[in-house]
Symmetry: C2
Subunit: 252 residues, 2 copies
Amino acid sequence: MTMFKPEIDGGVAEAGEPLGFRPLYRQVKAILLRRLSDGVWAPGGPLPSEGQLAAEIGVSQGTVRKALDELAAENLVVRRQGRGTFVAEHDERRILFQFFKLVPDDGEPRFPESTVLEVTVQHADAEERAALELADGAQVVRILRLRALGPRPLIVETLSLPHTLFAGIETAPVPNNLYSLYARRYGVTIAHARERLKAVALSPADAERLGAAAGQPALRIDRIALSLDGSPVELRISLCLTEEVHYLSELR
Amino acid sequence: MTMFKPEIDGGVAEAGEPLGFRPLYRQVKAILLRRLSDGVWAPGGPLPSEGQLAAEIGVSQGTVRKALDELAAENLVVRRQGRGTFVAEHDERRILFQFFKLVPDDGEPRFPESTVLEVTVQHADAEERAALELADGAQVVRILRLRALGPRPLIVETLSLPHTLFAGIETAPVPNNLYSLYARRYGVTIAHARERLKAVALSPADAERLGAAAGQPALRIDRIALSLDGSPVELRISLCLTEEVHYLSELR
DNA sequence: AAGTGGTCTAGACCACATT
DNA sequence: ATGTGGTCTAGACCACTTG
């Protein structure tokens, strides 16, 4: 039994909070977020029941419920009636739903097949240092791969990862589902991401990789993926041929 | 005082509902959605207080609250502590936040200036009929315009609207903020939209309109905008130069 | 049958805006 | 001072899953 006294605080202030009033359920949320970030519960594993958490933290079940509801709304946790609340996993369903926005013009979203061309460890360039908030001289792991939804490659993709976070990742085969690997092997949970899209002309090198003509229009997607604590942990630059595929964006 | 009995129903079934159990607050939500759609409250105007709605409908205040919370989460209603709950408006803030995803590479999002090139009424082509769910021979209003964030035009845009919904819109000047006009003049509220993005080469005609070179890569955005009741009411095809601007997509 | 999340209620109190 | 939404609680009951 932790002697957590809800009256004032117990957690760390959140970014962008009005500061001057912090509802209890946000403090509870911060506690749970901390535990998720610390890997207290395994990916896919169950959290304690609402009642147990409420008793342990010393608030009512309704307050815990509101905290869990917000975590569920952010896809960090999955609630299943009759079963319990579980740590969200990066299975293919979730990635297709949340992170993979390229879908065939006719047909269902599908998970792409990847072919790794190159894995290297190098000093981060200026763009990588800016995106990943790295110091001068920091090292990154770079992964270059092709991705396809059918027989033809559609995407050429460069990933940059801070070497300190993912030490040794360059020594093992690169799986198709990276986010699952980050979570299981390195305790790094991708919580959300920001993508910037542009239309560009293919360079000769990229055109050759994709089996397309140089100068052809391609969709360039720069993604910065953020971990649970909000720090950038992956930079991913994708060049996509969009003749038979489009990027789907829902405006809600 | 309406004699609404919450026990079973009173509203219309929602799409995609498991069907077999409908919580009270969803029935309340359906009622409120109906009133929004019917224009019972003016855009920007206040709804009755939670207590009043609860008494009128015959449920507890907590149930009304949960319905209003969901409407607020969908940006259909705005809640302001101490003041009340208001019908969401399509002011520039909301449009920038929800519907306009093109932002300068360096700098803040800004609302673009538009120049109308052409307004016509014609028979809907196959693409328009499919997107707007129109019958053969239905008419559409087509608006062709240029949009800019600075001195140079960045976007050439074709809008298609069902003529039956927006009769007479072709006879008046086209304002910069169309969604606000749809709501005020035609009682049509844009609730959300789906965008499909591709990279394409500019046609000679579009290149000339944008003052760019034919064949240059451009971002093509096909938007279908949906009204409160979920029916498509606008097709908008935009071609954007993305040298100094990008499309921002948040993956949450 | 037991355990979990989901709904609904009622009431007290807090934070905020307006009069 | 009044009225609004926001928080917190406690308890009853419902729906769903598992043994």
